[in-house]
Symmetry: C2
């Protein structure tokens, strides 16, 4: 059931964390990696989570699990470069935040005997690059698999087992449904955070230090999301356009209703709304998806 | 320079934290408190941060600093009830998140010899009520004073000293300017968080557990803000209507531009925007306004 040689294509936070987690848990697995960027390869060599190659051929030779850890927009180009060097029994996976477009980009190019098991580990931080990886990133975090109907159960099970071995809770989901759920829980919140931070930045041309100094009143929570990898997020929105625009459309409608309630001084509407949203945090804490400590346990 | 008897009107998180901080730092200060709600008074008695009264008269007798710790919308009514029992040399202050409307509500009612020094400690958590207070809440946090031109320097200095003694960094600011800055750093982010959580809640009628389970992908940060005290926030928006609507208007404009960029697949615009917002978090961490630890130091 185990893979013997994992090849990581793209060496950012997620690839680095996979490598470090594998090294921590297994001493008999071969891990190779490739990045097209010299600075990233040098950084990855320093972190030491895999054997770093400057070429696809060296990295992919005999690999039985290939994980595409590149931004979603680079999947199509990357899989074309990977295919010539794939072993006969290789399994291809990825870690992209969008699944339907990635399946379209990857699956159509693959030879018939090689299967693609798309994966999305719901893990990451506001930092990026090989140095920001750590071995425990996936522990007790969800990993969503969205294989198409053509992938044999046996192959899906191997990938499921792989992620479970890194400490994740694995679930399977339809790719389109994944993209909708994630646009609610992740893509829309990120775009909204980027937007609010952009507005504050513009405003801060007048009162720069004030926005920074008084950010603890709420704004700083947005800045954490808005500090995430820009390339990754550009690609998410370009590749999950319809679902993102749908949720953002719903958000805008709702925001207009609340703005109108403020304008009309409808205190009862506002109060009911705020009481409803307060309960949701309780559900998230009860589901073990966040800490109950105030301010996330921050000291100030 | 010190106050001898502090009376807390309203016994929520902030009042409780003031009482606990005073008790921790001084053993010669008298602290009394009043709440119109029996359950709150009972809870406050259990926490033990002040001598709790069921009536204004008992609470206010001989008090030389009265701090209004009620929601912004209750200030007008509260000050009318407080005035008959004020000592001749009493100083009145508050802790409201909006300052211009509070000055209007409070100052016009005060007798000539009694001065109002409005204060806004930028501190709090997503929890509310007397039991959620703690003695270190104000340490290394900003407290903004917004006295009108009629208040003597000597009185302002006493209130400044009071907050510095609780560990805060005190600044003075024009009330109108305070309300605009805070609508960027606090009021708009909170309304946006309430809105997004409301949208997700509605969406979750279809896939409830999924939105909760996969909230760690970004959404959970919004739920913390959207868990704040509903009455307090209703009053903030009703009393800082113009500034809140102005910033929300700017936010909506900007969100439409980003939505259009997604619709038109303008990757360059998105990337530039996201790169700009990323830098702002660095400034906030450099200014000591947030932790540099990933995920705010959360363990998962």
């Amino acid at each position: 059931m185990k893979f013997n040689h994992v090849a990581l294509i793209g060496l950012g936070l997620i690839a680095s964390s996979i490598g470090l987690a594998l090294k921590k848990r297994f001493n008999d697995i071969k891990i190779t990696g490739y990045s097209r960027t010299k600075a990233t390869r040098d950084e990855a060599r320093k972190v030491g989570f895999c054997e770093v190659f400057d070429d696809y051929e060296g990295c992919l030779k005999h690999a039985d699990l290939i994980i595409l850890c590149v931004p979603v927009g680079a999947m199509s180009e990357t899989i074309k470069r990977v295919i010539p060097f794939l072993s006969v029994s290789a399994v291809v996976s990825d870690v992209g935040s969008v699944k339907e477009s990635v399946i379209l980009d990857v699956e159509k190019n693959l030879p018939k005997n090689i299967f693609f098991v798309p994966a999305h580990p719901l893990a990451g931080t506001e930092n990026s690059g090989p140095s920001s990886g750590f071995a425990t990133l996936f522990e007790n975090r969800w990993c969503i698999l969205t294989p198409s109907g053509t992938v044999p159960d046996k192959i899906i099970k191997k990938v499921r087992f792989f992620w479970e071995n890194l400490g994740s809770n694995v679930v399977e989901m339809d790719a389109k449904h994944h993209d909708l759920v994630l646009s609610v829980t992740s893509h829309a919140p990120h775009l909204i955070a980027f937007t609010m931070v952009g507005v504050a930045d513009e405003f801060s041309k007048v009162t720069k230090s004030e926005v920074i100094n008084y950010s603890a009143a709420g704004f700083r929570d947005f800045t954490r999301l808005a500090a995430s990898d820009p390339v990754m997020w550009r690609d998410v929105f370009l590749n999950n356009k319809d679902a993102a625009l749908e949720i953002l459309g719903r958000f805008t409608e709702e925001l207009f209703i609340l703005q109108k309630a403020i304008r009309k001084e409808d205190g009862e509407y506002l109060l009911n709304y705020f009481e409803r949203t307060r309960k949701i945090r309780r559900s998230i804490i009860d589901a073990g998806q966040d800490t109950a400590e105030v301010n996330f346990g921050r000291k100030h």
